[in-house]
Each structure stands twice: as structure tokens, then as C-alpha cells.
């Protein structure tokens, strides 16, 4: 919980307005709910990271000598389930989205504050169920829990894990619902769609995916649970079912899910790049519509996860073509970010370092996605470490870097304190180095043929060197992640108090106090300026130097 910050003359803000556990557990203030999420998802990040550590330790040696095969299956399953459903999917929307969306549009709160709190409780209930499942033996189906293993053959308690994901999914749906209604209905006077920060466009697009995709995996989990518990034969070949139908239904959500994970991060990066280049984003409307395009196109490509599973070749051709198409809006964004940097006044504060890291790593991850979209290449590298590296580049190199960049950028607003800039830049560098050391070798491993989800590669001991490098990288990465936890906490008591707008950034959220009051604005703002009005903000300061920190 936030430590009360005692200063001689402290304004009332959302943190000190009320004290006591119940003022937090029964809050309807979107900012407090964001912090509740922050604590919860950080906990799950550590749990997922712990499983990753065990995986990397096992893979230090070719022999399966640390854990048994069944245990290893549980490790990568739990790592995936926790990281995907309980960390990445909520992360930016539930923490930064909840905190910032109302403020960025000039509203006092989200449209449905009580449903927002319900969202968090559903997340917690799902999380507790998942924890219980892990503590009572875990699941070994892979985070993708394919039938018929998950329906008929696994001896682990999949139903509990599945229901945990179902409940967390409902939390995700309600968050998306809240954002869509809020963005449509609660914008301040003058805040037209074309004046919205691109962070809002990104969250709107994310919400569309959450709303329309999550119910499909929800009903899939219901079917798997029904098959497991009641022996209905929906996906069981012995009873006339088709395991591929499971995969279609599963990936219909799980592919768009990856866009749930990356779109908010892209929104964060857009805000950071604009601020630290002191420039309006190049091609505002292109970036805005590309977010919507990613959300829509993202629903058209799911069977590229099934190229070798047995779908028809003609269908595979269609999905391969569509998978190339979905890269276009992402590429548009990368070009627009780059064009924004061009002739900008660049400042290398920690958020910007994370943004630079994002640009490079997301591009690599995205390009390798195109390699995978090519049927010929996919046949060779599917289910190898090439795929593992690809998605970690996007999800960790992309989404997590965006999350960390955003946490640093808005930390003064959230906490009213400045984090120590020197340590933050060091941490960003350590994360970047650790990340590449962990995951680049995995591209090579995959290309060389190392399968994923294998705990023993003693049939190909030449893989060991790259695996050792990867594990070393993971250790460095872990240090990089721990540092911000330490100095953020440190800053809450000892950090320099932040002004309302330490970055001299554009955006309504910076016109509130740091930290903001419970209702954000003293009076409803009336917007008469365009987004990213950095020229106006910097006008008195000829060289575009942000106001002193």
C-alpha cells in the first residue's frame, strides 16, 4: 500500500484523502484502483518470473537434471498462464489506463467506477484460484491447454486453472467495457476525437479486442471444463470431435490477445516520444487509425498458429496473406514514431530510453513475425525457440519496456515524487542488455532446431552454449527489473517532491496536481487546443528545455 507521505504543508490528494484498509478495498476512485492493480500484477510478475528462472536454470545443462519432465511441463505452463493472463493482459490498461484515461479526457472518473472495482476483485479471485491451483500441483497443459491433452489426458487440475482464467477474463471484459463507454461519453467539452491523446486511441482499440475476443476463450474454457467433468465429446476424436476446433476457438481470442498486450504499450511509447522530442506526433490520424486497424485485422489471422496442425492448405494461404497485412498498421506506427524523432529536440531521460529500446526490439519482434507468417519458414521453425524468441521480443522487449517507460513517465503524477534519474537510466540499460542476451540466442537456437517446451536437449549438446548465454541474460534482466521496484519504493518516502508537470508535457493529466485530487480537476476543463501542442508549451523556452525538475 502507498506509504502516507508526511510533509509540513500537504495538499489533499487521492492518496491522503482517506486512510485505512477499507478506504482502499472499497474505493471507487479509478486512481486507487489502478494502484491496487499495480500491486497485484507486480506480485504475479514475480511469480511468473520465478517460474522463468527455474526454466532457465534447467536449460543450463543439456540433461534434464534439475526437475523431472512433468515438473518442467508445469513450469512452462504456469509461467505462460501467469505472465499472459495475470500480468501482461491487465498490465498497462489496468494500471496506467485506469489511472490516466479519465484524466486525459478531462473526466472525474470512469463511466462505471463500481464496475471498475468489481473488475479488480474478479482479477483477485481469478488470481487466488490460480495460486491455489499452483500450490496444489499446478497444470502441465501449456498455457495453450490444447485438447485432447487438457480434456482427456492430463492428470492435473486443469478445471481450476481454466476457471481462474475465465474469471480473470471477465475482469478484462469489464475493464474494456468501462473504457469504451468512458471514451465515448465522458470527454470534456472541446475534447474531440481528433484531440484525444493517442494513448486513448490505443486503449480504445485494446478495449474492442478485450470485449469481442475474450468471450470466445471464455466459452472455450467452458467447453473444455464440460468435456473434462462431464465427458462430453466436443473435442475428443474418439467421440467424433475435432481437436482442431479447440485450436480455432482458442486462437480466435489468443491471437488478438497479443494485440491487447502490445497496443497499450504503443500508446505509452507515442506519449513518451512526443514529449521527449518536444514535437507533435507525426501523422496523428495515421497512428490513431492504425490502432483501430490493428484491433480489427488482429481478428483475421489466428490460424497462423495452426499452419502445421492440419488445417487446409488453402485456408493456411489465406491466413498467411492476412498475417502479412496485419503487419502494415504496426509498420505505419514505427515509421511515424521515427518521423517524430526526426528534427525533434531529443532528451534521454529514462522513459525515452525505454522508448528507444521498444522501437528496436518491437521492430525485430515484428519482423520475425513476418518470417513466421511465411508458410515455408514456419514449417521449419514452428514449435522451436525461434517462436519463443519472437514473442518474447514483442511481449517483453515491446510490451514490458512500454510498461516500464510509462511507469517512469507518469510516476511523478501517480506518487507526487521524482524517481532517481541516474538509477533509472542504469536500470533501463541493464534491462536492454539483459533482454537481448536472454532472447537473441533463442532465435539462433530455434533456427538450429531446438524445440520449445523440452527440458532435455542432450541429443543436441551443441545447444548448450547459447542456452547458457540465455540464462545469464535472464539473470541480468532480473536485476534490471528489480532496480525500479527498489527505487520507486524508495522515492515514495525519500524522492524529491514533483511539480504538477515536471516534464512540461502536453496532456490534460499534467494539468492536475501531482498527485491528483480525488476528482482530478477543480473545474471541468474546456479544451481549445490540439493534442501534443509542444510548440506552445515550449514557446517561452526557446531551446525547448523542459521545465526544471
Amino acid at each position: 500500500m502507498a506509504t502516507p507521505i508526511l510533509q509540513p504543508v500537504e495538499r489533499e490528494n487521492y492518496l491522503n484523502k482517506e486512510y485505512g484498509v477499507w478506504s482502499w478495498l472499497l474505493t471507487t476512485d479509478h486512481k486507487r484502483i489502478a494502484l491496487l492493480y499495480l500491486i497485484s500484477i507486480t506480485l504475479f510478475f514475480f511469480i511468473g518470473g520465478f517460474f522463468a528462472l527455474l526454466i532457465r536454470l534447467e536449460l543450463l545443462t543439456p540433461a534434464g537434471d534439475l526437475v523431472q519432465a512433468d515438473t518442467y511441463n508445469k513450469l512452462f505452463t504456469m509461467h505462460g498462464m501467469v505472465m499472459v493472463f495475470f500480468f501482461l493482459i491487465p498490465s498497462i490498461p489496468a494500471v496506467l489506463g485506469n489511472f490516466l484515461v479519465p484524466m486525459m479526457i478531462g473526466a472525474k472518473d470512469l463511466a462505471f467506477p463500481r464496475i471498475n472495482l468489481l473488475s479488480w476483485y474478479l482479477y483477485i479471485i481469478g488470481g487466488v484460484m490460480m495460486l491455489h491451483c499452483m500450490l496444489t500441483g499446478g497444470v502441465d497443459t501449456g498455457w495453450t491447454f490444447y485438447a485432447p491433452f487438457s480434456t482427456s489426458f492430463t492428470n492435473t487440475n486443469f478445471i481450476e486453472a481454466g476457471l481462474a482464467i475465465f474469471v480473470a477474463g471477465f475482469s478484462s471484459i469489464l475493464t474494456g467495457l468501462n473504457f469504451v463507454v468512458t471514451i465515448h461519453r465522458m470527454r470534456a467539452p472541446g475534447m474531440t476525437w481528433s484531440r484525444l491523446p493517442l494513448f486513448i486511441w490505443a486503449h480504445y482499440a485494446t478495449s474492442i479486442i478485450q470485449l469481442l475476443g475474450t468471450p470466445v476463450i471464455a466459452v472455450t474454457i467452458v467447453l473444455v471444463a464440460a468435456e473434462r467433468a462431464l465427458h462430453l465429446g466436443i473435442f475428443d476424436p474418439k467421440l467424433g470431435g475435432d481437436p482442431l476446433l479447440f485450436q480455432h476457438l482458442f486462437w480466435f481470442y489468443s491471437h488478438p490477445a497479443v494485440y491487447i498486450m502490445i497496443l497499450p504499450s504503443m500508446g505509452v511509447i507515442t506519449e513518451i516520444i512526443a514529449c521527449f522530442s518536444r514535437k507533435r506526433i507525426f501523422g496523428y490520424h495515421f497512428v490513431a487509425f492504425s490502432s483501430i486497424a490493428i484491433a480489427v485485422f488482429g481478428f483475421l489471422v489466428w490460424a497462423h498458429h495452426m499452419f502445421v496442425a492440419g488445417i487446409s492448405v488453402y485456408s493456411a494461404l489465406v491466413f498467411s496473406f492476412l498475417s502479412y497485412a496485419v503487419a502494415l498498421p504496426s509498420a505505419i506506427k514505427v515509421f511515424n514514431w521515427t518521423a517524430t524523432l526526426y528534427k525533434g529536440s531529443i532528451h534521454y531521460d529514462a522513459p525515452m530510453l525505454y522508448a528507444f529500446g521498444f522501437l528496436g526490439l518491437f521492430t525485430i519482434g515484428g519482423l520475425t513475425g513476418l518470417f513466421l507468417a511465411a508458410l515455408g519458414i514456419d514449417v521449419h521453425v514452428t514449435d522451436t525457440y525461434f517462436v519463443v524468441a519472437h514473442f518474447h521480443y514483442i511481449m517483453v522487449g515491446g510490451a514490458v519496456m512500454g510498461y516500464l517507460g510509462g511507469m517512469h513517465f507518469w510516476w511523478p503524477k501517480i506518487s507526487g515524487r521524482l524517481y532517481p534519474e541516474g538509477w533509472a537510466r542504469l536500470a533501463a540499460l541493464i534491462v536492454f542488455i539483459g533482454f537481448n542476451l536472454t532472447f537473441f540466442p533463442q532465435f539462433v537456437l530455434g533456427y538450429m532446431g531446438m524445440p520449445r517446451r523440452y527440458y532435455d536437449y542432450s541429443h543436441m549438446p551443441e545447444f548448450q552454449v547459447l542456452n547458457v548465454l540465455s540464462t545469464a541474460g535472464a539473470t541480468v534482466l532480473g536485476v534490471g527489473y528489480l532496480l525500479p521496484m527498489v527505487y520507486f519504493l524508495w522515492s515514495m518516502r525519500y524522492g524529491k517532491p514533483a511539480s504538477d508537470n515536471p516534464w512540461n508535457a502536453a496532456g490534460l493529466e499534467w494539468q492536475t496536481a501531482s498527485p491528483p485530487t480525488t476528482f482530478n480537476f477543480d473545474a471541468e476543463p474546456v479544451v481549445t487546443w490540439e493534442a501534443y501542442n509542444y510548440e506552445e508549451l515550449d514557446a517561452p523556452h526557446k531551446e525547448g528545455v523542459p521545465v526544471a525538475r
Partner: protein, 241 residues
């Protein structure tokens, strides 16, 4: 926007608003905004429900294509009369729902209460008939599982051919999951309408504010629409003599 039950106050900007309308939540600027938010929220939620049932319709579509004859035989064994009756019951209940909304709009308290109660009665009738159908299936050993049996059932239109029991069981698996999930939504709907009935009885709804009746109604109509599709797909695959 003002009526006798609200007090008009002026905030620091000199804007007049119904600050003491108990139904206006603090984070909304005015009642219309709150109403529009609630309405949009329910519509968006219904969109998620379309996708939720959509997954089941997808599974149904795939297996109906694969096992058409067996599905037709299985479909013939469920009671079309009861299914059609249930369809009519739900259509009547959708009528009573729109009457309830109209009654709320026009301050007709008795009609509002009566329509809400009648809606619930029709919903319970639907569930009752469904229960009879489920019992029939149980008795005939058409419930998927260890005691499932579907022998010597002719495939409609193919004299001399009999349905494959495994494939027929697939039909029944989908039948129970789809109608079961639909029934669960009906039960939730009944809970919502019970709450609406209580609120209406206490006189909480006025022509200015009856949003829960409207959005509760939207939910009920959606559940009706799902059944409108379930009925022909499950009961009427092949009914020609």
C-alpha cells in the same frame, strides 16, 4: 430537465443542474450523460454476449456439417411442440418487457408492475418447460455420458440408415451446453427482473429515470434473440415426414 422532485442549484460556474437528484452519480455532469452511459454499457455488454454464444454456434456449425444425418436424427427426437411453445412464451415475454418500459415512460405504475411480474412468470414457464424437456432426455438416455444410448434411430430421408450414436451424442452435448447456457442467462434475467419488480413496487421509477428497466429490457430481448436462433437450429434440422 427539472421536475418537482429535484432541486436546482448553481455550481461555481453559474451552471444550473439537478444536484439533488438522488439518482445522478457524482462523476456525471448531467442525467442524460448518465443514461447514455448506462445504455451504451449494456449494448457493449450484449456485444460480448454475442461472441460468447458465438463460440458455441461455431462448434455447432462445424459438427452439423460433418454429421448432418446423425444430427437430423437426434434433432427429431427432441420435442418440437415444446420447443415451439417455448419460443412463443419468450416472444410474449419480450412484449411484456416493452410494455413495462412504455409503462415506466408514461408513469403507469400498475402496468409497470404487472408487466414485470408477467415477464417473470413467462420466464419461469420457459424454464419449467425446459425442465420437462431435460427430464425427457434423461429418461430416454439421451444425456451424454456413460448411460448414453441412441440405437436404431433412422436417419431422416435415408431409409435403412441408422444414426451413428457417437455423432448423435455430439448433437446432445451441444444441445445441453447451448440450452443450458441459455437457461443460465434466463435465470440471471429473472434475478434482474425480480430486482426491477421490487424497485417498481417501491415506486423508484419515474418517467425521468427508469434506466434500469430499459437496460434490463435490452438484456431480456437479447436472451430472446438467442433462443430465436436456437429453436430452428436444434429442433428443426429435418422435420419433413
Amino acid at each position: 430537465m427539472h421536475d418537482s422532485s429535484t432541486t436546482v442549484v448553481h455550481d461555481r460556474n453559474g451552471e444550473a443542474h439537478a444536484a439533488h437528484n438522488p439518482a445522478l452519480l457524482h462523476h456525471f455532469a448531467e442525467p442524460q450523460q448518465q443514461r447514455d452511459a448506462a445504455s451504451l454499457g449494456m449494448w457493449v455488454f450484449l456485444a460480448t454476449e454475442v461472441m460468447f454464444f458465438g463460440g458455441l454456434f461455431c462448434a455447432y456449425l462445424v459438427y452439423r456439417q460433418w454429421y448432418f444425418g446423425d444430427f437430423a436424427a437426434a434433432s427429431k427426437s427432441i420435442n418440437m411442440g415444446l420447443g415451439a411453445t417455448n419460443t412463443a412464451v419468450l416472444i410474449c415475454s419480450s412484449l411484456t418487457v416493452v410494455l413495462a418500459v412504455w409503462a415506466a415512460q408514461t408513469a403507469r405504475r400498475s402496468l409497470l408492475i404487472g408487466s414485470l411480474a408477467l415477464t417473470m412468470l413467462l420466464g419461469l414457464t420457459f424454464l419449467g418447460i425446459k425442465g420437462i424437456e431435460y427430464r425427457d432426455k434423461f429418461v430416454e438416455h439421451h444425456v451424454p455420458g456413460a448411460s448414453f444410448s441412441f440405437e436404431n434411430e433412422p436417419i431422416p430421408g435415408h431409409p435403412g440408415q441408422y444414426a451413428n450414436a457417437r455423432h448423435a451424442q455430439m448433437f446432445f452435448s451441444l444441445y445441453f451446453v447451448m440450452t443450458g447456457l441459455h437457461a443460465l442467462h434466463m435465470i440471471i434475467g429473472l434475478g434482474i427482473f425480480l430486482w426491477l419488480l421490487i424497485m417498481a413496487w417501491k415506486g423508484r421509477f419515474t418517467p425521468e429515470w427508469h434506466t434500469p428497466v430499459e437496460i434490463g429490457g435490452l438484456y431480456w430481448h437479447f436472451v430472446d434473440i438467442v433462443w430465436i436462433y436456437l429453436f430452428p437450429l436444434l429442433y428443426l434440422i429435418d422435420r419433413h415426414p
